[in-house]
């Protein structure tokens, strides 16, 4: 039989940024996650509690929130990893406009994504009986494939201090879209060049490598080491390295 215990959840409630914390006490059982507790509160104590969720399996990226101050997926945060002797705070993501209770408007992210030049297929390697053919090796595809694991939970955007603290949404696209750009830039089938846009329009230079995005990624994507820094290095190749410029002239 599952063991039960009492826990308090301090949930931020309100609409359009106006509101405050409300404490809810409830009985919790072994194996529960934060989303289970929020659902129980919604079912028994606050039927109008706003919360976005969908798959409950850490794959849809809907239930992003700040649990005890750290951006996390509510469905993947087990209660036995939290100190239940103190109230557990659950807040909406701070980087995006607030809608209601734990729900934020993340639509800014989708407008940013539309601005990134899409995949541009390079010319085929050969033409076979079935039409044009491209050959790539799996090892060369592994790098961009890591970034395809992204579930667009936007926790990395939420924790990035350039967006969270400095609200530079008009100058910096954030880690989520740097890995999207990296996924396209490193794709061996892609012929596009997004480096100038990364430097000037997407603000890759604003990243100061705090690695907070990597720490909160529920998919374990090495955002900083495998996407941001390699793209910063490619930007250096093109714009800041006089030796590379010289090499390009002679080439």
């Amino acid at each position: 039989m599952a063991t039960t215990s009492q826990a308090t959840f301090r949930i931020w409630r309100g609409e359009n940024n106006k509101g405050g914390y409300v404490d809810f006490s409830l009985e919790v059982e072994e194996g529960m996650v934060v989303l289970d507790a929020v659902h129980r509160i919604q079912a028994t104590q606050a039927t109008d509690l706003g919360v976005r969720w969908n798959c409950k399996a850490g794959k849809c990226g809907s239930c992003s929130a700040e649990i005890n101050g750290s951006p996390k997926l509510m469905c993947m945060t087990r209660l036995n990893t939290l100190d239940l002797t103190k109230p557990v705070t659950v807040e909406p993501m701070r980087t995006f406009p607030h809608v209601k209770d734990l729900v934020t408007d993340v639509s800014w992210n989708f407008t940013v994504k539309q601005r990134i030049p899409p995949f541009q297929r390079r010319p085929p390697d050969s033409h076979g009986p079935d039409g044009p053919q491209w050959r790539v090796r799996q090892q060369d595809v592994d790098r961009p494939q890591e970034f395809r694991k992204c579930i667009e939970c936007f926790l990395c955007q939420d924790v990035c201090h350039v967006l969270r603290e400095h609200h530079m949404h008009d100058k910096f696209i954030g880690p989520r879209f740097i890995i999207h750009a990296a996924q396209l830039e490193m794709n061996p089938l892609d012929d596009g060049n997004r480096l100038e846009a990364l430097k000037d329009d997407f603000g890759i230079g604003y990243c100061n490598i705090t690695k907070c995005c990597t720490k909160v990624c529920p998919e374990g994507i090495h955002i900083t080491d495998n996407a941001i820094i390699p793209l910063k290095e490619r930007v250096v190749d093109q714009f800041y390295d006089p030796l590379q410029k010289l090499f390009r002239i002679f080439k």
């Binding site: 090796r137 201090h161 949404h169 008009d170 100061n208 705090t210 820094i229 290095e233």
Partner: protein, 257 residues
């Protein structure tokens, strides 16, 4: 670029709902890097006690000058370390790991993830002076050269001169082992550099066989870049302390062979 409304109220410096000890890591980084900077600055200005027998302090290697040249400014005390320390120093300062670490520990930019910051303005690495961080790869080239020089110093540390006869014989002292460990740790750090990872293969979308293997090796070291960075940093300091104290006669080098 699309803009959005400012979300939940901005909080002040250090404000967070995080109940964990988020300030411990930046504090240790502050103390660790601070201790190194203070010690290395002091040691660099000493200009003495950097040699003991076949041992040469890594803070003075390569030893370009042993006495004050005529062109040396009168208002700066002479020390050979000042001629060379800018190179490994620049490599560390522009290193991607250290950048993230000291921005947090020294500038609180941010002090820790999801913790309020003290300043409203932010420029990132787009403008002077932080745009100079893009010079990391040039310091890498120098760091690779230093790696060879320090490995040569470790080799030299195996050959002891008899003070009476002047004969040179093979030997191993505790200092020899310390000086062998030094380039090994520095190698783990330098060869796992993000810029090197880019140069050996990361810059290409399609890597050839040798390029792929080198890239994988660098990536392997790169995964522990922080660990290599700290161990190599403190080993350089410890090597200098060991040689300095032996040269001052406070410690005695223990000969194993």
């Amino acid at each position: 670029m699309s803009t959005i409304d400012v979300p939940l109220t901005k909080r002040g410096f250090g404000r967070t709902q995080r109940p964990d000890l988020w300030w411990v890591t930046p504090l240790f980084v502050f103390l660790g890097l601070g201790a190194f900077v203070v010690y290395s600055t002091w040691a660099a200005f000493q200009g003495d006690f950097y040699r003991f027998g076949p041992y040469l302090s890594p803070m003075y290697s390569p030893l370009l000058l042993t006495s004050r040249p005529g062109w040396w400014p009168v208002w700066i005390p002479f020390s050979a370390a000042l001629l060379i320390l800018w190179a490994p120093g620049g490599f560390r300062v522009t290193c991607y790991y250290y950048r993230g670490a000291y921005y947090k520990a020294f500038w609180a930019d941010p002090a820790a993830c999801a913790v309020g910051e003290p300043r409203k303005s932010y420029w990132g690495e787009r403008t002077f002076p932080l745009i100079l961080q893009n010079s990391h790869r040039f310091f890498l080239y120098l760091a690779l050269l230093f790696l060879v020089l320090l490995a040569h110093d470790a080799w030299n540390a195996m050959w002891f001169t008899d003070p009476v006869t002047g004969a040179i014989t093979f030997g191993i002292g505790l200092g020899t082992i310390i000086m062998i460990v030094n380039p090994i740790l520095l190698g783990g750090y330098t060869l796992g550099c993000h810029s090197l990872r880019h140069l050996v293969g990361g810059r290409k979308d399609v890597m050839g066989g040798a390029s792929r293997k080198t890239y994988d090796c660098v990536s392997c070291l790169n995964r522990r870049h922080m660990t290599w960075a700290w161990f190599s940093l403190f080993w350089v300091m410890f090597t200098d302390i060991y040689i300095r104290l032996c040269a001052m006669g406070i410690w005695h080098d223990w000969r194993i062979h």
